[in-house]
């Protein structure tokens, strides 16, 4: 199986359109990506990108609140959106002959979203309820504490959903200004994957998007997280069912030449992942599961390393079994890192990861939605071309590279160690 090539088209207003024909099923997906996320938020406005995303479902003068979902559902499709650190994305997947609806909706709300003051107020409490739902999980508290300790300068410091105090204080005009700054064709990428002919669909795209006005110059983000000067430790004490450990190292982002070696290191610790969805778990033959779950120290252990624009985190997570304690588990996790730093990894481990990666990429190609997600995310992060070179990039990594990045980046100096320790339940220590 070979994928059809991706074609890139730039409209006169600067909007990039990526198309890939995929004729497996009579389905087409349209994604629109904006180069804005929690990374672009100034102090006092945390959560603004996510809130703007919510407001884009609240109507325009020609499509009152509720109509766009209705339109998509009546045509047998799915519609949703999400906000991340580096981007905000919206997608509609539809029967192939209905995809024009997605263009109608996205071109309209890129420019004409209403931000009705009353709708803004309703959404304020909806988002506070979303935040409170996350806060029911002890691991949310630990993750936010560790992330905050890891970044003192860069906006990666704050959670995507924002701080409750900022969510209570932000105004309709703050939101609208954020929207007008970032939701412009020159800051957007449209990705189309599915059952279409490129020339035909591009004519439709031009009809809807080519005449949209170019936006103002985009604010330049200049935050650089300084080199950490030593281990930082955080402890979260709340009611909870177990102790949890989270260790986070500041490491390079996806545009760095060490991205591939760090990704392979992550796979060595807890299996090769799919990019974009549709993959299978491969963690139980990897190092952390063998060293911590098989030995009954923890009920789950994993590592994570996501592609980000700026330097972000390489993390280790574990749920401590009740017979053990966080200190012990922290040592066991660090021991696994030290083993790689001292002894490196084996050729057979690399070979296994290589096969896993190829399989994961093939699974992802079953669905147009996963394909488009991958192309759009990579275009915002770096370049859509990375999608087709990623497997080669990763399989070119040598064992020595993996050992070197472990030695360079997974150091005490660069890490934050977090423990979640439950408080006594009987005291009802809530808030």
């Amino acid at each position: 199986m070979t994928n059809n090539p991706v074609q890139a088209h730039t409209l006169p207003n600067g909007m990039l359109v990526l198309t890939r024909e995929m004729r497996n099923a009579p389905v087409t997906t349209a994604w629109i990506w904006y180069r804005v996320g929690s990374r672009n938020e100034p102090g006092g406005r945390t959560g603004i990108s996510h809130w703007v995303e919510h407001m884009l479902f609240k109507g325009t003068p020609t499509m009152p609140p509720g109509t766009l979902n209705r339109l998509i559902k009546r045509n047998g499709g799915n519609l949703n959106g999400f906000t991340s650190l580096d981007y905000t994305a919206y997608y509609a997947t539809l029967p192939a002959d209905r995809i024009e609806l997605a263009f109608r909706i996205e071109s309209d709300r890129m420019i004409n979203a209403t931000f009705d003051p009353q709708e803004v107020e309703h959404e304020r409490t909806v988002i506070l309820a979303e935040l409170e739902g996350y806060a029911n999980y002890p691991t949310t508290w630990l993750d936010e504490a560790v992330t905050a300790a890891a970044f003192s300068v860069h906006p990666y410091h704050h959670p995507i959903i924002g701080y409750a105090c900022d969510l209570r204080a932000m105004s309709r005009d703050d939101l609208y200004q954020h929207y007008q700054t970032y939701y412009m064709p020159n800051n957007a990428v449209l990705v189309l994957v599915g059952d279409f002919q490129t020339s035909g669909i591009m004519a439709q795209v031009e009809r809807y998007f080519a005449d949209l006005p170019v936006g103002p110059a985009l604010p330049h983000l200049h935050a650089i997280e300084p080199e950490p000067q030593g281990e930082r430790r955080v402890m979260v004490q709340r009611p909870g069912p177990a102790e949890y450990v989270q260790i986070a190292y500041l490491v390079p982002g996806c545009r760095d030449s060490d991205f591939a070696a760090l990704t392979v290191l992550n796979a060595v610790l807890s299996g090769a992942r799919s990019f974009g969805g549709g993959g299978v778990p491969t963690h139980r033959s990897a190092r952390l599961y063998r060293a911590l779950v098989e030995t009954q120290l923890v009920s789950s252990a994993s590592s994570s390393y996501m592609p980000r624009i700026d330097p972000h985190l390489f993390e280790l997570h574990a749920t401590v079994r009740s017979e053990h304690h966080a200190d012990e588990i922290e040592r066991a996790l660090l021991h696994e890192i030290e083993r790689i730093q001292q002894d490196g990894i084996g050729a057979e481990e690399l070979a296994r990861i290589s096969k896993q990666l190829r399989a994961q990429v093939t699974y992802g190609s079953e669905s147009v939605t996963s394909q488009a997600r991958l192309l759009g995310a990579w275009e915002v992060l770096d370049s859509y071309r990375r999608v087709d070179t990623l497997v080669d990039e990763l399989t070119a990594v040598q064992a020595a590279d993996v050992q070197r990045v472990a030695q360079t980046y997974l150091t005490a100096r660069r890490r934050v160690v977090g423990h979640f320790v439950p408080t006594d339940q009987s005291q009802g220590d809530g808030q």
Binding site: R74, G76, E121, E130, N136, V293, T319, Q431
Partner: protein, 438 residues
Amino acid sequence: MMSAAPFLPEPVRGGIGQRIASTVRFTLPNGMVVLLLPTTATPTVTVSGEVRVGAIHEPAEQGGLAVFTGAALGRGTQRRTFQQIVEDTEARGCMVSTGSGGHTTAFGGKSLAEDLPLVLEILTDMLQTPTFPTEEIEKLRGQFLMSLREYEQSTRYRAALALQALLYPPEHPYSRPASGTRATVQQISRDDLEHFHTRYHPAATTLAIVGDFDTDQVLSLLETLFGGWEPAAAPPSQTLPPVAPLTEVRRTAVYLPGKIQSDILWGVHGLERTHPDYYAALMANLILGQLSMGNRLWENVRERQGLAYSVSSSLDAGLSAGPWTASAGVNPADVERATVALLHEIEHFVREGPIDEEIADVRDYLKGSLGLRLETNGGIASMLLAIERYGLGLEYVLRYPSFIDRVDHDAIAAVAQRYLHTTAYALAVAGPPLDRQE
């Protein structure tokens, strides 16, 4: 033996409904049903199967036995240890898995085309010759106990558990969690698992394979792998004791220290998937609280009042009649207001029935979205399993639009009145202790 080779049509071009209708359905002499649908879009294969044995077949005092047994199948077989299973599959980037719920034990796998024989061989061993090694069973128990500790402090889980206990009498399996409790899971022995496994039965088993494979080769492989599977007893029954209807409102609250949000769960008795009311109930549920962004509960609780981020209804219509529920996650101070709003919408829907526009919306949605559900091999395999489980027939996808079109306003209004009782229901709320709500 499969001496009479079944007629094997070429993969049919054209609509997915037609292709599903062309699925090869074959019954092995021991009663196991095999469904094979080759597709060639990607060099991958999805295997999805189920044995219709689950938590409803376990004794009340052994809660979690079916789930434990289902998970333990992969912990070692006569041919491979757990570590070998993991090594052999993950090294090739393929997956095998098993797991049980209330009525069924699911098993499945996903692989590149070249690794399908390996996946089938391991799944066969997991189903037929698991060894339940003591050491592995203890590791698994430890993981279950930790998960149960985490569940015990989940507001959603605790609200669901409380609702089940309000809706079903103690002797009914739906009154208990399929996962058991820490106390019951602690007591389950290796012998219990081995004994429960003898209830797995080929005549209660379906296997669907969708993807890039050769039908002849796979059929003969399956005959070798599963042909010798002889059951110990008769297949287990899926019939559950009847449940007396609720005659009053039953409410309960669960207090969990440290929680920030409360989960509200309203529920009544629903219906089974094969009930004649099913399609009308499916559409009623979409209108009430399921058709994402735009249903009645969403419009009131989220859009008009801004009380919740998550609010929906859910119809659990399976091999038996599960609950029909409505739920919302809200600030503890808003529990009463949100409950009133949920009840108001349900009452209004029961009293007035659906409007024509809503009926048109759900009709179009249900018919139009089939294509999306059947995009991937996994989506098609799930459909094939459902077709077999509920006896829908391989022409089901082709006939589906007519089932939907047949449901009219009166049918939807009638099911709403028949099931969504507004004076006899159960309501469970799980959240922080009351004194923290002020």
